[in-house]
């Protein structure tokens, strides 16, 4: 109990007072073109973390062009009209030829003319080789590498595309110059070979990964209308037909500065950052407001089950329909998740792994996104010779218990202690903080909300958790995906 009291003192009790996180000296900047920045200066080594988040991801896609947001993420490392090229005009002329041949390739494929399609694919490869003569390969990456950049990368989720890098603080202006250039003048060179790279990424993450394949099957079964059911990496058939023009027009539609939030955390001067933002980023023309996702998932009227056969040992995923991450019930569902699988003393870990020994692992999470109604997910791997059915039975048994009695006060105190400690530990990493601030602005409109969330978690009662388990973790809202070992393998 002493610990809970001590750590509760780090954040004021449930009053209108601001939490310590909310008092961080964050500078908020909104440029005339609608781009928002959050800047947090902090002492330490002379390093700075940059995060650019665009509100575009898998949910903004349609069947036929799945994977386009992720492919576009790859393409934004290919350079601009001046970086990555020796002759942009010559490149552009070849792009037009490639696009025309790709149109012919799609026509041939639609007519079942595989030989014709193969010939067109070969022509595209040759044109791309011709264009490569004018390419300064990976120059964007090389400029940052020489500057001492760390962790240059990006990620695409269901709802956002996030670019990040860390630099020594004397290179701050370099980041602004490069970011403004690639937002205004990107060139989608080496497109078709990069599309092949993404296809290989899908092969690695899905086609040769039992866990990845099961996740894809699970989401597709759980979401029949909402784009959460579509894999962010895209379906193979779509990846094979996406064109350079598809990606370019998608970029024009979704990558306006008004659809972006930038987070900068490190040993920086906010005044200097604001001046640089006005100098470099404010000149980017405002884009259209991207269309909102209107698709909604119809009510689920019964359990759904999907089975995947694979040359691998069994795995299990269970998902229940629950509200979006911004819903009032979301904090309680997060607490429920921690009570069930957060650490060795959690209910499901104790029961499945330590006591009954029917599983080798068990995890839970909310996902695949947070902006729309989502899933409360449990995934587990049975411990042979036990089966997924035995694991399922034990999971449902524990959920019934918590839906009946709720967690004990001790369990809740354990979770609250973990939250209090993590609220301090979470500010240790500059990059981690930048990601949190940006997501908070993107999702909730205010960077402070990420810190207020801890208070909402703290307010969750045992009865809240019981009610949520009883209301949401029900058979009729459940989708179960099971990976079974293929016979003969």
């Amino acid at each position: 109990m002493a610990v809970a009291l001590v750590m509760a003192g780090l954040a004021p009790s449930m009053s209108a007072q601001a939490t310590p996180g909310e008092l961080l000296p964050v500078r908020e900047i909104t440029l005339e073109n609608g781009m928002r920045l959050v800047v947090l200066p902090r002492q330490g080594a002379p390093t700075v973390s940059f995060v650019s988040q665009f509100n575009i991801g898998g949910v903004n896609e349609r069947l036929g062009t799945t994977g386009i947001a992720h492919l576009l993420e790859h393409m934004l490392f290919k350079g601009t009209t001046t970086i990555g090229t020796r002759n942009p005009d010559a490149e552009a002329a070849l792009f037009r030829e490639m696009d025309a041949v790709h149109d012919e390739l799609l026509s041939a494929r639609a007519l079942g003319d595989e030989a014709g399609a193969a010939a067109h694919a070969q022509t595209i490869r040759e044109l791309e080789d011709s264009a490569r003569v004018f390419v300064e390969s990976n120059e964007f990456d090389r400029i940052l590498t020489r500057a001492g950049a760390q962790g240059l990368n990006a990620t695409t989720t269901s709802e956002s595309t996030i670019y990040f890098v860390e630099l020594p603080t004397n290179r701050v202006e370099l980041w602004f110059a490069l970011e403004a250039d690639r937002m205004m003048n990107p060139v989608f060179r080496e497109f078709y070979s990069e599309r092949d790279v993404v296809i290989e990424e899908r092969r690695m993450r899905v086609e040769t990964s039992p866990g990845g394949a099961l996740l894809e099957a699970h989401m597709a079964a759980a979401f029949t209308m909402h784009p959460y059911g579509v894999p962010v990496v895209g379906y193979m058939t779509d990846l094979e037909t996406l064109s350079r023009r598809d990606v370019e027009s998608y970029y024009r539609r979704f990558y306006g500065p008004n659809n972006a939030v930038v987070g900068i955390v490190g040993d920086v001067d906010p005044d200097e950052i604001e001046a640089l933002a006005n100098k470099y980023l404010a000149q980017i023309p405002r884009g259209d407001d991207p269309p909102r996702v209107l698709a909604t998932e119809p009510d689920q009227r019964g359990e759904r089950r999907v089975t995947l056969e694979w040359d691998a040992e069994p795995q299990l995923r269970i998902g229940w329909r629950v509200p979006a991450g911004v819903h009032d019930d979301a904090p309680g569902l997060a607490i429920l998740s921690t009570v069930l699988t957060g650490g060795r003393t959690s209910r499901l870990y104790r029961r499945l792994v330590l006591e009954d020994r029917v599983a080798t692992s068990v995890f839970s999470s909310l996902g695949p996104g947070s902006r729309f109604p989502q899933l409360f997910q449990i995934n587990a791997a049975p411990l042979g010779p036990h089966t997924t059915e035995e694991v399922e039975t034990a999971v449902y048994d524990e959920i019934a218990r918590i839906a009946r009695d709720g967690p004990t006060e001790n369990e809740l105190e354990r979770v609250h202690n973990q939250i209090a400690a993590s609220s301090i530990r979470r500010v240790q990493s500059s990059l981690g903080l930048a990601l949190q601030l940006v997501e908070s602005v993107s999702l909730l409109g205010d960077w402070r909300e990420t810190f207020r969330y801890a208070e909402k978690l703290r307010a969750v009662s045992s009865e809240d958790v019981r009610r949520l388990a009883a209301e949401y973790l029900v058979t009729s809202g459940r989708t179960v995906a099971t990976l079974v070992k293929r016979s003969g393998s």
Binding site: A11, T80, T145, R146, E190, P270, A275, K279, K485
Partner: protein, 484 residues
């Protein structure tokens, strides 16, 4: 209430927000020319250095950092399963987990869990075979309790039989699932292929997991040989002052008994040298490719060591700025990832090779591209611009080695354990700046032999093409039992 004041203070100390109006400047030019015209000021940075204390013959490193009310304790014991025979492999591998989960003389496993959660301690326990590393992060006021509990966990482990059985069951399951991930299968089999019965080549199997190998006696033996004072190096970072914690650290160290006998030396491996293609047949949509051969370059071989690390960065260790990724991924679209490796140990031979994954039909072409790229560097010096990129990455990124106090202390603990000078990083950064195209060519021409690679492929030979595979060298099919 007092804690909330402290909490506010540390957060506010991160910097001061100034509410000045935005300064509108002229719009900037962007693009290559504008980027090249930027001038960057020198960084005024003096890397923090940890203090070293001697406590009962044990090196204790401390580095103060008062930004958050947290302290992290870093414990490193030299020694692990790699020093002992195969009969201690399972117990040696399990040791860190059982120190964490197996209870103590006074506390059941459940009581340890509850104590850790009660104080909101964050812990990690791990081993790489040659050492055991344990960290415990705590709010500063619980440091005495943290050190006390950690000392009990390390020095009075109970090796609770139920927890041993849980560990064993999960390992047995892991053995059964070994073939599920083709990458894991490829890397473990490649190690086994090259290192044979040396600990680097060991892969846990059901014989290792026989309950007799996980008896209390086995645990006591491996624990007694590793968890003792002569093997210990300690580090502490965070909101601390040495004078305030010295007696606590002294008590902690005294609870760790002196070692009864010195550790046996690490066995020297003999790396197999039989070039060719080794195939594990598996019906896969993507092949996994690992290739390497031995090299006799040593860490102490300056300046060749520096030329080799820069050379590896140019070959395939430097991401998009390296040749293998540029060829295999950017130009050919063969793979999502492709890289080279050049391990340069202190006392025995290392490996020089490459790794990638690609669709079955591109397997042989991808191998050929990698071998060709290697050959080019074996016979021709790299471009000075490539050297500059690889060196600038290290020199300009130097400050990132000091991003957190934990990084600094852990690194220094590693240097002490390896008998490396504590300014080894600074020497390295200086050393790479003397690398030239000629010295990289010298390193590759002396050590790189693309036509002598041992190439392991996990994939579908019917789609890869058996004839094409044979064109790469003598083909050996490996029979690897996986699954139950």
């Amino acid at each position: 209430m007092s804690r909330s004041i402290v909490g506010l203070a540390f957060l506010l100390s991160l910097g001061a927000a100034l509410a000045s109006p935005p300064v509108i400047e002229a719009q900037a030019q962007v693009g290559r020319q504008a980027t090249e015209a930027l001038v960057f000021p020198e960084l005024d940075f003096r890397p923090p250095e940890p203090d070293e204390h001697d406590v009962e013959g044990v090196s204790v490193l401390t580095l103060e950092d008062h930004t958050l009310p947290l302290v992290t304790i870093y414990v490193r014991f030299t020694g692990g399963y790699a020093r002992f025979g195969r009969e201690l492999y399972a117990a040696g591998t399990a040791l860190p987990s059982l120190l964490r989960f197996g209870g103590t003389a006074q506390l059941t496993p459940d009581s340890v869990d509850k104590a850790l959660e009660y104080y909101a301690f964050q812990t990690s326990f791990g081993t790489g075979g040659g050492s055991i590393s344990i960290n415990l992060n705590t709010l500063v006021e619980h440091l005495p309790s943290g050190l006390d509990l950690l000392a009990a966990m390390l020095t009075e482990p109970a090796f609770d039989p139920m927890e041993v059985e849980v560990w064993r069951g999960r390992q047995v399951e892991s053995v059964a699932r070994r073939g599920d991930d083709p990458g894991r299968l490829a890397f473990s089999e490649f190690n086994h292929l090259l290192y044979g019965d040396h600990p680097i080549g060991w892969e846990m199997d059901l014989a290792d997991l026989d309950p007799a190998n996980l008896s209390l006696e086995r645990f006591r033996e491996v624990h007694g040989r590793v968890v003792c004072r002569d093997n210990l190096i300690l580090g502490l970072t965070g909101d601390l002052v040495w004078a305030d914690i010295e007696s606590l650290v002294d008590s902690f160290v005294k609870r760790v008994p002196p070692c009864a006998e010195p550790l046996p030396p690490s066995p020297i491996p003999t790396i197999r040298d039989e070039p060719g293609v080794y195939l594990i047949e598996k019906d896969l949509e993507q092949s996994v490719i690992v290739m390497a051969h031995a090299t006799d370059l040593r860490l102490a071989a300056e300046p060749s060591y520096y030329a080799a690390t820069i050379g590896n960065s140019i070959l395939g260790g430097g991401g998009f700025s390296s040749r293998i990724l540029a060829r295999v991924r950017t130009e050919e679209g063969f793979a999502y990832s492709a890289s080279s490796l050049w391990t340069i140990p202190r006392e025995y031979d290392g490996l020089l090779g490459a790794i990638t994954r690609t669709r079955p039909e591109n397997t042989v072409p991808a191998v050929e591209v990698i071998l060709r790229t290697m050959e080019e560097l074996r016979v021709g010096a790299p471009d000075p611009g490539e050297i500059r990129t690889a060196v600038d990455r290290i020199v300009n990124g130097f400050v990132f080695n000091f991003d957190t106090p934990g990084q600094i202390v852990s690194r220094t603990m590693f240097y002490l354990a390896q008998d490396l000078p504590t300014d080894w990083l600074e020497r390295y950064v200086e050393g790479v700046q003397s690398v030239t195209p000629a010295s990289v060519l010298e390193a590759f021409s002396r050590h790189l032999r693309p036509d002598e690679m041992m190439i392991l492929i996990v994939g579908d030979p019917d789609r890869i093409g058996r004839e094409a595979l044979s064109s790469l060298g003598p083909l050996t099919v490996l029979e690897i039992p996986v699954g139950r």
